[in-house]
Structures are given as structure tokens and as C-alpha cells.
């Protein structure tokens, strides 16, 4: 193969004075960016800026810089476009990437601000008063009926369909075993179990060792049907039909054969080393009535004991699509915005297809309310929830709960180098290489995930308190408590928020 002429993105600088040649960095790097002769020799073009070497170096001798190499500036032909073309000219392939859309689109979370109580109503101190985050996901009836016994004691007559309790309105994103390591899956499952939230198996089944955490798992059924069998369906507390993913709406998935080791093979129910191809559509869903059939097939298979979620990516007509999904019988609609993450996607799709979750969420919540069916399904919002601030804003726009994927990965050690698709994750997360997966201690990762959920929940309680409310229901859908800064009238209108000062 002809040597690539594409200049490296990063520059690895090893301080010769500090380095004592322990080679930890060399052993840490799975990308081949560090070699050793009589000293550490960087190979810049392979560096992805994952920081593993930096973190492992006992002498703080390594620095990664963005390459200072100058390109003649061009507003249209950016370095990225030029590099992309060079790569494609060399390989003839689609450009691949991992994680969510990294383009500087307007992030609407950053244009929304939260209200607070002053004088006319008191804020509430979450350290002194109960602050309730408990959330139930699932379909709710339009109204309740009660019956009274002969002593005049009322009791509930209406039979509710199954709802699942979250101690705090957040769930971990669908990340399959295969795309991430068993240790990572184990940490997510255990942290969800111990925090009273939910993990999502993603489209790769649930490893038998993790069945004990199943009551806190959303079990996914996607177009490849990998790992789907009756026992699996009954392990989870929610079943999710994955139709789309925010990072790659409308296309399928591809887990390369190298990642299909014996454990992945057993869990996915496919031969070792075979590529796991998820078709773009479900081949049994070509219309909304087909979706209804699948929803009810899954409900039948689990004896109507579990809510069924349908996950779609946020696209132009999301409001109408969501309405159809609710009318088809889904108990939960999960909407994944175009900044949602992925283990692997064509860059061109990740960066150009779909709409932001903020807009999609607001439009769906509005539409379901206009149609009087908002109560029939919970809405879960996904796609780059970066902090409890984003979380609060999503709830206020109308989400029952949010999804965190990238944030959870970062909590486990990820540095967002966006190379998940290479299977070489130095942090032991997005890889099946046993030498690398051993680097992720599931006990430690569990604690870190639990810490994140705890920290964000504390912040959420603090914000509820300053809003002068003490339960999450009073924030959910309460757009009156948000204001827009730097949005156009139509943007604010779609979000259903007033401008700051109004």
C-alpha cells in the first residue's frame, strides 16, 4: 500500500528529560502511535488523542498537541473536507466515525435558561424538604375510576397497564455488548440496578451473567434480532423496538466479525467471527400497522407484563411519526436527536441527517398534547444530554426521562476520541480485545456511573428547589419556567418558550 500523504491531526511530544523509559505509554497505546527503540518514538499519524498514554505516564512526560501544521485557510474547503477527500481517494471507502455529531450546529440547550423563585414565592431547600424525582414510565389512562366498599372506603377500580419506576428520570443509552465490552455492559447494568434506573441492552442481547440485573434493563429488539429470544425478553422490565438511531437515521448497523468472540457470539446467537449486519429497516416493519403487530407480538410474548418502547431518530416529521407510534400501542417513545452517539456510523450521515433533539422533543410533546394522547405514552429524550442543566431543560420541554450514553461512557473513562468503530479503545470500553477490556474494572466503573447519577440527581433537586417545586411532575412539560436567549421567534415558538425578558 502506498504510504498515506495525509498529515497527522495530532502531535505527540515526549519530554526526554522527564521520560524514564518505563514503556507504560507504549504498552497503553493500541493505535500504534508510540513505538520504542532506545527511547519512546511517537508516530503522530496514528494518534487519536485518547489520552491513555498521558494518563498512564508516571512522570507526566507526554503532551498531545493539535498539529500546528498550517493549511492555506479556506472558509469553504476546510481542512476536514480536504482530509476527507484525501482519505477517500486513498481508500475508496465511506468515512467512518464514532460518537455523536461533532459539527458546530446550534445547540438549543445552550440558548435556554431556567427560572428561579425570588420574593413572590419561596424557593425550597432540598436539604430540608423532600424533593421527589420518582418517575413512572409507561402508558397512563385518561382518567381514574374508583369504587367504594360498603364502609365507604374507596379503592382503585381502573387497572393500569405496567409502568416501570425510575428513582430518578434518567436511563442509560442503548449500547450493545459487542459494540462495548462485557465489563462496560456489566458496569452499566449494575449501576442502573443499584441506582434504581434502567440500562439498555442495545441490539446485542444480554449476557447470561447479567440476567441478575435484568429487572433494571430495557431489552432491545432491533432489525438484526440479535440475541432476541423469549427468555431474554422476559429478563428485562421494558422491551424496546429500535427503529432508528440519532447518529445514523435510516441506515443499519455493522459489527465487524473481529468483534464477535465467543461471548459475543453466544449472546448474539451468531457464529464466532461472522459480521453482525443489522438491516436498515426491520424487514417485518414496512408501515405503521406492521409496527403495531410487532408491538403486540412482543406484548403477547411477555404476557402484557412489560411496557414496550419504540425508539426512533429525530427526523423532519417526528411529531407525526411519534403520534403514529403511540397510536400503534407503544407505551414509551424514545426519540434520539441528531447529536446522539454511535459506535460506528458513516461520518456523512452522522453529521448531516436528522434534527436536534430539542426541536423534536418539543414538537412531539406538543403534538401528542394536541391530539389528547400525551398520557398514553412516556417520552424519553436522547441525543447529547451533557449535564444536569440539559436534563432539566429536556424535562421542562416535556420529556419524562432522558437518555445518557456518551456521558456514561465518559464517566467510565472515555475521552471522546471518536474512534469507537476501530475496536481498539484504549480505555477498554469500545473493544473486545481481552488485553484492552481488562483495563476497565467493572467495580470501579459501576461506582463512577453511580456517582454521576447521584451528582446529577443532587443538582436536579437543587434546581427543583430554586424553581419552588418539590416534585418532578411540576417541572415536566413546564416550559413556562424556561426562557430563550438568542433564538429567533420561530425557534422559540417551536420550543414553546418565551424570550428572556418576556
Amino acid at each position: 500500500m502506498v504510504k498515506s500523504t495525509i498529515p497527522p491531526m495530532f502531535q505527540v511530544v515526549v519530554d526526554k528529560e522527564k521520560c524514564r523509559k518505563c514503556k507504560r505509554c507504549v504498552m497503553s497505546c493500541s493505535y500504534g502511535a508510540l513505538g520504542f527503540t532506545d527511547r519512546v518514538v511517537p508516530d503522530d499519524k496514528n494518534c487519536v488523542a485518547c489520552h491513555r498514554c498521558v494518563a498512564m505516564c508516571p512522570e507526566n512526560a507526554i503532551m498531545i498537541n493539535e498539529s500546528p501544521l498550517a493549511y492555506r485557510p479556506h472558509a469553504s474547503w476546510t481542512v476536514e473536507h480536504r482530509q476527507g477527500i484525501l482519505k477517500q481517494a486513498e481508500t475508496g471507502g465511506m468515512l467512518l466515525t464514532g460518537m455523536g455529531n461533532d459539527k458546530p450546529y446550534k445547540i438549543f440547550w445552550d440558548h435556554l435558561v431556567i427560572d428561579a423563585c425570588q420574593v413572590t414565592n419561596p424557593s425550597i431547600d432540598p436539604l430540608r424538604e423532600p424533593m421527589e424525582l420518582r418517575t413512572y414510565l409507561g402508558s397512563k389512562p385518561d382518567k381514574l375510576e374508583f369504587e367504594t366498599d360498603k364502609n365507604g372506603q374507596p379503592s382503585l377500580k381502573t387497572q393500569l397497564t405496567p409502568n416501570i419506576l425510575l428513582e430518578t428520570p434518567i436511563v442509560f443509552a442503548a449500547m450493545s455488548f459487542g459494540s462495548i465490552s462485557l465489563n462496560a455492559h456489566r458496569a452499566l447494568a449494575r449501576a442502573a440496578y443499584e441506582s434504581g434506573i434502567l440500562m439498555n441492552t442495545g441490539e446485542g442481547g444480554l449476557h447470561k451473567d447479567l440476567y441478575k440485573y435484568g429487572e433494571r434493563a430495557i431489552v432491545q429488539v432491533a432489525s438484526g434480532r440479535f440475541g432476541v429470544h423469549q427468555e431474554y425478553l422476559n429478563q428485562g422490565s421494558v422491551i424496546e423496538i429500535k427503529v432508528g438511531q440519532g447518529a445514523k437515521p435510516g441506515i443499519g448497523g455493522h459489527l465487524p466479525g473481529e468483534k464477535i468472540n465467543s461471548e459475543v457470539s453466544q449472546t448474539r446467537m451468531i457464529p464466532i467471527g461472522s459480521d453482525a449486519l443489522s438491516p436498515a429497516p426491520h424487514h417485518d416493519i414496512y408501515s405503521i400497522e406492521d409496527l403495531r403487530q410487532l408491538i403486540y407480538a412482543l406484548k403477547e410474548a411477555t404476557n402484557y407484563q412489560k411496557p414496550v418502547s419504540v425508539k426512533v431518530s429525530a427526523v423532519h416529521n417526528i411529531a407525526a411519526i411519534a403520534s403514529g407510534i403511540v397510536r400503534a400501542g407503544a407505551d414509551i417513545v424514545t426519540i434520539d436527536g441528531f447529536r446522539g452517539g454511535t459506535g460506528a456510523a458513516p461520518t456523512i450521515i452522522r453529521d448531516n441527517v436528522g434534527i436536534p433533539i430539542e426541536m423534536a422533543l418539543a414538537a412531539v410533546d406538543d403534538r401528542l398534547r394536541k391530539e389528547g394522547i400525551r398520557n398514553q405514552a412516556s417520552i424519553i429524550a436522547a441525543g447529547s444530554i451533557r449535564s444536569s442543566g440539559d436534563w432539566v431543560k429536556a424535562l421542562a420541554l416535556g420529556a419524562d426521562a432522558v437518555v445518557i450514553g456518551t456521558a456514561a461512557l465518559i464517566a467510565m473513562g472515555c475521552r471522546v476520541c471518536q474512534k469507537c468503530y476501530m475496536g481498539k479503545c484504549t480505555w477498554g470500553i469500545a473493544t473486545q480485545n481481552p488485553q484492552l477490556t481488562a483495563r476497565l474494572n467493572p467495580e470501579v466503573a459501576t461506582e463512577r456511573l453511580k456517582n454521576l447519577i447521584r451528582a446529577w440527581s443532587l443538582e436536579l433537586k437543587e434546581i427543583l428547589g430554586l424553581l419552588g417545586v418539590n416534585s418532578i411532575e411540576s417541572l415536566r412539560g413546564n416550559r413556562e419556567r424556561l426562557r430563550a436567549i438568542g433564538l429567533t421567534d420561530s425557534e422559540a415558538n417551536i420550543l414553546g418558550v418565551k424570550h428572556a425578558g418576556e
Partner: protein, 364 residues
């Protein structure tokens, strides 16, 4: 764009009196009681609700309506004549009052619904639903006209001013009622507007409210799912509409409806026996968006009694008292003692626990 309506932010004083044997109480009593709370208001709103004041027309819906100009009165009356049989219509009696320099045109109409009203051709809804539809229509679509009250044998008198002045303006000494509620308003962000004073009313339900409903945004959006339109530029009206929805449309037992509004804490629900836990869990699951959050004390008047309710951590004051068959509810004990110096019992209702006082059954 319905979400552009402003929310009313206000502090306030409340008073309510009820005689459970339907013995009539003169308007002077409630005016004296609320006047003592003068400092809880700022002169931008005072009002009263009275039950049992129209015994001669007790089967008629009594519309109290304000008009900002004659044009909207004609428009309103045109609509009314098409749909209702009007048996009496008159200016609401008022007196010239130095503290009430300007006022809108104030009329009352005693009406029954025409059995052949035109909308029946397209929409078969019951009488009460039609009244609600009328109120929504007038408030939203007839510019300058606002319905103060729309129940039977009751009425709302309210305006911009201190309540004692508004009471004198409306000559309330000429009315005797078995239930009275009164309100002294301290709005901080809305202009003095007669429609914005309390009580808020829909059908027989009247609400006087001290506080701010911090959950207003979602309560309003929840109500919109059931075709209620919040048009009065205040958070208090959601209380009236929520009660109408939960009690009349959803037919919830009253205690449970109040528990939907002032929700039980999960920590308490978790300790309940299975029957109650199931019931209260479902109420929070299904009626979470109806829950009122933020500081409030509310008096709810209706044809059969009076209810007082606080938010679930009691961020606004509410005192109750009893002497024989008369019960008192107020923001301040002094306001009760002003008209009933020696009550037999006086108590501070617990946070979130409603005080429910019912009239004795009417003897025919």
C-alpha cells in the same frame, strides 16, 4: 399562541365563612373580616363570592359579566340570545365610591339553556359542558367581555380596589348568603384589571387563592388537552378548571381529587396499606400534571360547601375556626376573631390536608 399569556404573581389575603344550616350571613360580616387584612393587599384587586343570594332564580344560571365597552356587551348578548332563554337581565347594582373611580360595565343575566340551541346540531354536550363552552368562548373570543361567574344561586363580585371598597361599591350589605369567600389581592406583575381579581369561577366553583402556582406551565398544558383554555392571564384559573375536570368530568371522589391537587409525598405513600398505596400511586402517576406545586392557600366555594386547602408543605397561612354551625377559614386568625371573637375551636390545618365543610342537606 396561547402560551404567551402572562402568569399572575401575587400574594394575598383570604377569608371564608359558611353556615352549614344555611342560615344567612349578611355581606357586612365578610367585608369586616377581610378588611382587617387590608395590609395583605395593595389595592389592585378585591372580590367576593356569595352562595344562596338568588333564591328567586335558584334554578337559573346566573351570569355575572363585565364589559369594557358597549360593543362587546351587544356581541355577548347576541350570543346569549341565540343559546339561552333570558329571564332577567340587569345592571349589577353599584354605588358611586370615591375609592373606585372607574369601573367596567357590569351586568347580570339569569338564564336557562335553550333546548333547541343551534350548536346541538353538531355537538351533543350536556348543559354544564355547554356553560363551560360559553365561558371559554366569551373570555377568549369576545374582546372586552369577561364572565365573572356562571353558577346557580351564586355570584362573584370583584374589581380593582381594596376588598372593603369593592364590597361597598357592589352594595354587598344588601346580600345575604350562607357561604361567603373574600379575597384581598397583592399582584406584583399584572396591571389592575377587573377580570384578574379573585374569585375565579366556573359553574358553581369559585376559587380565592393566596400564592403562586409554580407548576402553572404544566397545569395549563394539561388542561389544554381537555380543551380548557386559560385566558384570564392568571395562574388561579387553572385551579377552577382542574376542579371542574377532576370532579365533574372525571367524577373523582372529592377527597381524592383534592389529593391529586395537593399530592401526597412518596415517603408517605410508601408507608400506606396496599389499598391506599395502589390508589395514591395511581393518582400521582395519572394526575401528576394536575398537581399544584408552589406556595398556596386556596378557598374553594361550591353549592354544597366550602373547602380550604394548602400546598403540601404549607408555604402560605391558613387558619380554621368553628362556632356552632358556622365555620371560618382565613389567612390570619385575627381576621376570624374580628367577626367571631370567641370561636369554640380554632386550628391550623396541616399541610396538604384539606378542610372540607359541607352544608347540611337542604330540607325541602
Amino acid at each position: 399562541m396561547s402560551w404567551r399569556y402572562e402568569k399572575d404573581i401575587s400574594g394575598c389575603g383570604l377569608a371564608g365563612i359558611i353556615n352549614t344550616r344555611r342560615e344567612l350571613i349578611n355581606g357586612k360580616v365578610i367585608m369586616k373580616s377581610i378588611a382587617l387584612q387590608h395590609d395583605r393587599g395593595n389595592g389592585l384587586g378585591g372580590g367576593f363570592a356569595a352562595y344562596g343570594i338568588y333564591p328567586d332564580y335558584k334554578d337559573h344560571y346566573a351570569f355575572h359579566v363585565m364589559f369594557e365597552h358597549e360593543k362587546c356587551r351587544h356581541e355577548f348578548e347576541h350570543y346569549l340570545k341565540i343559546n339561552y332563554q333570558i329571564d332577567r337581565e340587569e345592571l349589577i347594582p353599584t354605588r358611586t365610591h370615591p375609592k373606585v373611580p372607574t369601573h367596567p360595565i357590569l351586568w347580570r343575566y339569569f338564564v336557562t339553556i335553550k333546548p333547541d340551541r343551534p350548536d346541538l346540531k353538531e355537538d351533543e354536550i350536556g348543559d354544564q359542558d355547554f356553560i363551560v363552552k360559553t365561558v371559554m368562548h366569551v373570555n377568549l373570543n369576545i374582546d372586552g367581555a369577561y364572565v365573572f361567574s356562571s353558577g346557580k344561586n351564586m355570584g362573584v363580585f370583584k374589581g380593582v380596589g381594596y376588598p372593603e371598597d369593592i364590597g361597598e361599591f357592589f352594595c354587598l350589605e344588601n346580600y345575604d348568603a350562607y357561604i361567603w369567600t373574600a379575597h384581598n389581592r397583592f399582584p406584583t406583575n399584572t396591571p389592575g384589571w377587573w377580570g384578574g381579581a379573585h374569585p375565579f369561577a366556573l359553574l358553581e366553583w369559585t376559587i380565592v387563592h393566596n400564592g403562586e402556582i409554580s407548576s402553572y406551565g404544566i397545569n395549563k398544558r394539561y388542561l389544554e388537552m381537555f380543551h380548557y383554555t386559560c385566558s384570564l392571564m392568571t395562574d388561579t384559573e387553572v385551579v377552577a378548571y382542574l376542579l371542574d375536570l377532576l370532579l365533574r368530568k372525571h367524577n373523582l371522589p372529592r377527597e381524592l381529587a383534592l389529593k391529586a391537587l395537593s399530592a401526597s409525598f412518596w415517603k408517605d405513600i410508601d408507608k400506606m396499606d396496599k389499598r391506599e398505596r395502589t390508589m395514591f400511586t395511581a393518582i400521582r402517576q395519572v394526575y401528576g400534571s394536575a398537581a399544584l406545586n408552589g406556595p398556596f392557600a386556596i378557598l374553594i366555594g361550591h353549592n354544597n360547601g366550602l373547602i380550604g386547602i394548602n400546598d403540601r408543605i404549607k408555604l402560605r397561612p391558613l387558619v380554621a375556626a368553628r362556632k356552632q354551625d358556622t365555620y371560618y377559614l382565613a389567612s390570619e386568625e385575627s381576621s376570624i376573631r374580628e367577626v367571631c371573637p370567641e370561636p369554640e375551636r380554632i386550628w391550623h390545618p396541616k399541610a396538604g390536608e384539606p378542610v372540607i365543610i359541607d352544608l347540611e342537606k337542604e330540607v325541602k
